[in-house]
Symmetry: C2
Subunit: 255 residues, 2 copies
């Protein structure tokens, strides 16, 4: 009954972190228990919620990934300002992990093992991935039941999609046969721009029902909210950004 | 007399590729010889110029990085549509290189060795980096004389800057004592938005003269141009995007 969803795209700046924080908050507000897991060394999902990323031996994603036994979840999970929204904080130290784990056996399974205790305890687990298809994102794809792909309404974003879909197929064949695509989310959509409409039309034509009906508009409140350490629901509840992530949460719950 | 400049920032989507292509074109149009080197596995700088990224054994960045002897530059450099603008095309295969080179001796120096023949042949070499601080970006920082840091006018972008500056300092101490910061470039600046102005004020206060006077405005022509495989100078010469990169080129030439 727990759905683990990796939010991934190797293209940078497409709205992965913004989606993890705000979809997470909009799910939690429907009386669900939601865990956010920050697997990006930038630790933006962590600081975007007003939490200081961990370093050194402090419990967090780095210790979760590098510990050999099955960790006790209570050590790694922090509450946030919102009822029902929890966080495994990120860490800059993750940047070194790619090289450290490069030759470890079963290096793709560290996160899957670490998240086992979340099953039955949370309704949704959302994993924020870094902008690459390296070992950290692979770990997220192996640990996940499904992938949510943010697709910025721009040319380069559409171009990179086939590489990401190839990688998902590879992970399914090699390590995680049950991995599905939860959906593809158009982000920073501006209906006044030809480019936005062209990318949306292209995506509709090629991706069909994989595409969520909800499109996230470009909305400055979404980019202001992290500087206050809050999801947009708490920062600007009347904004189009908050409304669109509430729509997305309803769509995610009914899929 | 050749200046090798790495355009780097681990934050995704801040305008690294857009800056490499458009600053490159605006320098070339001043009768300079400019080489663009695409070190990002996404190969956006390559496709943004209408060139198909290379795969397999075809000559390009992958063979340049993985060859042991000093390569002959003519094998790797392609002309572009613009006089004086040349390209070492990128490749998806680079994604695997991080793991392949992880245990190679002197793994940080492969690009520096490969770019030696550019000295004296080009006025500027601009290196497009992926959104990470892994081995590919390290190679670019070791090969470069200077770094140009695009800084998106957003909260997360400002947050990540200290990590990037730490990394540059580390590279200077360990592998490339001459590495300097050419400048920090505000991108996607929208003076109508409080957030943009706040980030700009913050950057001015903390970074002072490292900041270029030129600010790149948010301009849709910049994001349309890559779908036509052209720098914005050839796609929409009268746009604010083209004007701002021409200003930047003049500022870069006089620094
Ligand atoms: N719909 C939106 N409207 C306006 N700004 C947005 C929107 N979504 C995200 N942003 C802003 O755009 C920038 C990029 O978004 P975000 O950091 O979430 O992308 P990302 O894919 O997580 O980036 P990275 O690849 O670096 O991890 C951020 O500054 C964010 O605040
Ligand atoms: N000044 C600008 N105005 C409008 N759009 C821009 C501007 N600069 C870049 N863009 C667009 O924003 C997106 C991100 O820019 P770009 O791809 O150059 O960033 P990047 O840092 O190279 O990304 P990555 O981290 O994925 O390599 C692209 O779709 C690009 O076309
Ligand atoms: Mg992110
Ligand atoms: Mg790029």
């Amino acid at each position: 009954r727990t759905r683990i969803i990796a939010v991934a795209n190797q293209k940078g700046g497409v709205g992965k972190t913004t989606t993890v924080i705000n979809l997470g908050a909009c799910l939690a507000v429907h009386d669900l228990e939601v865990l956010l897991v920050d697997v990006d060394p930038q630790a933006n999902a962590t600081s975007g919620l007003g939490v200081v990323p961990v370093t050194g031996g402090e419990a967090g994603i780095y210790t979760l990934l590098s510990s050999s036994g099955e960790p006790s979840l209570d050590e790694f999970v922090l509450p946030t300002e919102m009822e029902g929204l929890w966080l495994v904080p990120g860490s800059r130290d993750l940047a070194g992990l790619e090289i450290e784990l490069a030759s470890a056996p079963e290096r793709e399974f560290f996160l899957a093992r670490g998240l086992t205790p979340t099953r039955g305890r949370f309704d949704y687990v959302l994993i924020d991935c870094p902008p690459s298809l390296g070992l950290l994102t692979l770990n997220a794809l192996v640990a996940a039941d499904e992938v949510l792909l943010p697709l910025q309404s721009e040319y380069y974003a559409l171009e990179g999609l086939s590489h990401l879909l190839d990688t998902i197929r590879k992970v399914r064949n090699l390590w995680n046969p049950g991995l599905g695509i939860h959906g593809i989310l158009l982000t920073m959509y501006d209906r006044r721009l030809n480019l936005s409409r062209e990318v949306a039309d292209d995506a509709e034509a090629h991706l069909g029902e994989l595409l969520y009906r909800t499109r996230i508009p470009r909305n400055v409140r979404l980019s202001e909210a992290p500087s206050y350490g809050k999801p947009v629901l708490l920062y600007a509840v009347d904004s189009s950004g908050a409304a669109s992530y509430l729509d997305l949460a309803r769509e995610v719950m009914t899929r």
